[in-house]
């Protein structure tokens, strides 16, 4: 996996949220308590590749997505998108760089300005980044894209307002807005989670098509393994702010290595009641992120936990053919 061909390279990304404590206590304690939402995460995505980021809620998936494009400020780490060091950018230059990376949010109902027609919403990025010379040219570009994302007839849609659209249509508008500046990298933050199943597959197909057409690098954040399997070439599994396993989609589904991944796979329902399988169930509850277990973060719930787990780091190691896992005991 050579780094040069990767569009997105993220190394040692950290995002700690400070906890609010009474100021008297803050004076006494030297180290301020934090929630380690994202702790030392590295990944890379090539062009025309979708990396799935799966994990249960609270594992820090969304925080990874937002800090990668600096919608929230990462505590530490290096981010390179399209050979540009994103972490070193400030103010105006960061604003300009934003045309290269975009985000699609989960809730299509809330991610469009209710007082702006959808045509203007999609046109706005063009105005901000000075793409196209005049209104007519920009409108032409928007209409063309509306056709592409199947908002037809595009001329009629141009002047509509978000409240006149269905959820699936709104998500298409949001996708159009993300794609209009011709970005290299798109974060899709649970983009299909709030859509009906029937609409979901259409939107997934649309994203897949656009990915191929624009040679996009996709970070596909989801808790739905089925959607991830459909769209992604590789999948990274997150648990409590750490990536525990990365592998190609096929490899991950066929030979999951990390105990947590195994449990996740075991939770996918099989549409055949005659098949019985030995389910491995996690013990107990997800630990509080303010009070993380020492060593491996999963050891408190892991069915294979041993004494050594207390002292190990959750380093990803290659188990062969680009299959990375953070559990050294299961091969």
């Amino acid at each position: 996996m050579s780094k040069t061909e990767s569009v997105v390279v993220v190394n040692n990304l950290k995002k700690y949220f400070p906890l609010k404590i009474p100021w008297l206590e803050a004076l006494r304690k030297k180290e301020k308590p934090t929630v380690k939402a994202v702790d030392n995460i590295s990944f890379d995505i090539k062009s025309n590749e979708a990396l799935g980021l799966v994990g249960e809620s609270g594992s820090g998936k969304t925080t990874v997505g937002r800090s990668t494009i600096r919608l929230i400020e990462p505590t530490n780490g290096s981010i390179k998108i399209h050979n540009q060091d994103i972490m070193s950018l400030k103010g105006e230059s960061l604003r300009r760089a934003r045309k290269n990376f975009q985000i699609i949010f989960q809730d299509p109902m809330a991610s469009l300005n209710p007082y702006m027609s959808i045509g203007k919403s999609v046109m706005h990025p063009l105005e901000i980044h000075n793409i196209g010379s005049n209104f007519k040219e920009r409108k032409e570009m928007v209409l063309e894209l509306f056709d592409k994302v199947n908002l037809k007839p595009s001329k009629e849609f141009f002047n509509r307002f978000p409240r006149q659209l269905s959820g699936g249509q709104r998500q298409r508008v949001v996708i159009a807005r993300a794609i209009i500046t011709n970005p290299k990298f798109i974060v899709s933050d649970e983009a299909t989670a709030m859509l009906d199943v029937s609409v979901r597959s259409q939107v997934l197909k649309l994203m897949l098509r656009l990915k191929d057409e624009y040679k996009l690098a996709f970070l596909f954040i989801t808790h739905d393994l089925a959607s991830a399997k459909y769209i992604c070439e590789r999948i990274a599994v997150m648990y409590l702010g750490k990536i525990v396993e990365v592998a190609s989609t096929r490899e991950l589904f066929e030979h999951p290595l990390h105990p947590y991944t195994k449990i996740l796979m075991g939770a996918i329902p099989i549409p055949d009641p005659t098949i019985k399988r030995n389910k491995i169930m996690p013990k107990g509850e997800i630990p509080s992120p303010t009070n993380m277990p020492k060593g491996c973060r999963f050891r408190t719930r892991c069915p294979y936990a041993k004494k050594e787990c207390e002292d190990m780091d959750m380093e990803l190691t290659d188990m062969g053919s680009n299959h990375l896992s953070a559990c050294p005991f299961i091969k």
Partner: protein, 286 residues
């Protein structure tokens, strides 16, 4: 934005009680606006010249009687609407022009600035309105602009509070984050994404405030802090008229008082109906 909404749904408006309230308010306001605009044509006499014997009862030649100097009360009530409207309008415009941008910017920036400005605004807000206006008016002295200013100061915090609280919620909306994600500058985000979403509630506050401002203005004039006589002004006429109540010269008080009540009622009903109408939660149901 809202004129389109209202135009479309006149029928629905008449259909429910809030709609009727809105229309009655609108009707009252139109009467007063016509009165103010066409005062010279509607008034039978000059409001600042004696036109008959003093303290005449209401009669055909003087519909609302005359005051102790022989001024025609009817003409003074009509011309008084001009003073009420102009002071209320100037005061509201000043208050909105200061309160809205402050609320927008402070709410958007947040942090320490927010705490400090909000504390100042809240301390102004806790003063009883009329007392604060009296204090400022006493300092500034009489005159149209001075009175408007002292009323404006009372209402700046109202705008500030309404706008700031809305901005604080709206700035964490996904579409504002989306605007940041596409690389919009803060001024653009404020003007294109936040302002249109707070404006509907501002319009309601605006019309409510005008009603309040008219009352405050009448109060100030009543206490002799308003416009210099003999300029026609309802509050001043009221204070002059109350000296003659014991002689049973009721028309000196009743007619200017009625004018104040009706115009305030008009604005309140109008704004209440508008509120029902522009409130997005109610709007969604229709």
């Amino acid at each position: 934005m809202f004129s389109e909404k209202i135009g479309k749904n006149i029928k629905q408006l008449v259909g429910d009680s809030s709609g009727i309230m809105f229309l009655v308010g609108l009707f009252l306001l139109i009467i007063f606006v016509v009165m103010a605009v066409f005062a010279p044509y509607l008034a039978p006499y000059s409001p600042i010249k004696p036109t008959g014997a003093p303290l005449l009862h209401p009669q055909a030649s003087h519909l609302m009687g005359t005051d102790n100097l022989g001024y025609d009360v009817f003409s003074r009530v009509i011309f008084g609407s001009r003073m009420a409207f102009s002071i209320a309008a100037i005061a509201t415009v000043i208050a909105a022009a200061v309160g809205i941008p402050t609320g927008l910017i402070v709410g958007y920036i947040g942090g320490k600035l927010d705490s400090v400005i909000t504390m100042i605004m809240d301390s102004v807000y806790t003063f009883p309105g009329l007392i604060l206006a009296i204090a400022i008016a006493a300092m500034l002295g009489q005159g149209l602009i001075n009175i408007s200013l002292s009323i404006a100061v009372v209402y700046i915090p109202t705008y500030y509070r309404v706008i700031r609280s809305q901005v604080v919620t709206i700035k964490s909306e996904l579409y504002v984050e989306g605007a940041r994600a596409i690389g919009a500058k803060s001024p653009t985000i404020l003007s294109k994404y936040i302002l249109p979403n707070v404006l509907p509630s501002t319009i309601v506050v605006l019309s409510m405030n005008i009603a309040d401002a008219i009352m405050t203005e009448a109060g100030l004039s009543f206490l002799g802090l308003g416009i210099a006589p003999p300029t026609p002004d309802w509050g001043y006429d009221l204070s002059k008229g109350q000296q003659f109540i014991l002689q049973n010269d009721w028309w000196l008080v009743v007619f200017p008082g009625l004018a104040i009540i009706l115009i305030v009622l008009g604005f309140s009903m109008f704004s209440e109906g508008l509120n029902e109408y522009l409130n997005p939660n109610i709007g969604e149901k229709r």
